[in-house]
Symmetry: C2
Subunit: 87 residues, 2 copies
């Protein structure tokens, strides 16, 4: 049962972190980020950084990895968004 729960948690983490890949790829190839909310990206970066801090405090490597990788991918998306805004 415990292994099953861990597998569900890992699958969940892989999905919510991996979901950022097609979004970053799309924004990178099209160069278009108009429909993506800047406020969403800014709040998300803060939230993911807090999750990494939480993972460090709890010494939970899964939380650190999943949110750390998401933070890098969302950071890339934020860079593309800001670049487009500044023209």
């Amino acid at each position: 049962m415990s292994t099953f729960v861990t597998v569900i948690g890992l699958a969940a983490a892989v999905c919510t972190t991996g979901a950022n890949l097609p979004q970053l790829k799309k924004a990178w190839t099209t160069g278009q980020t108009d429909d993506i909310s800047l406020n969403m990206l800014l709040v998300l970066v803060c939230g993911l950084a807090l999750w990494v801090a939480y993972g460090v405090l709890k010494a939970d490597i899964i939380i650190i990895l999943a949110n750390g990788i998401s933070l890098i991918l969302i950071g890339g998306l934020l860079y593309l968004k800001v670049r487009e805004i500044r023209g």
Copy 2:
């Protein structure tokens, strides 16, 4: 220390869940979702549903609430995206 860690975790959950609000509001008011990746939304819906299942299995109300609310908000965004694709 334990309370501090819990506060960090709660703040993280509020940010990563709340970040979806400005994105949903933007997509709702503009009706534009071209730049949002459909694959991202589909994988994210699967991941959030798995997180809710994980929260239920671990009897963790914070994980259930944070990801359940995110699931509803991302579900709304997916609806707007599919509606735009189908024209």
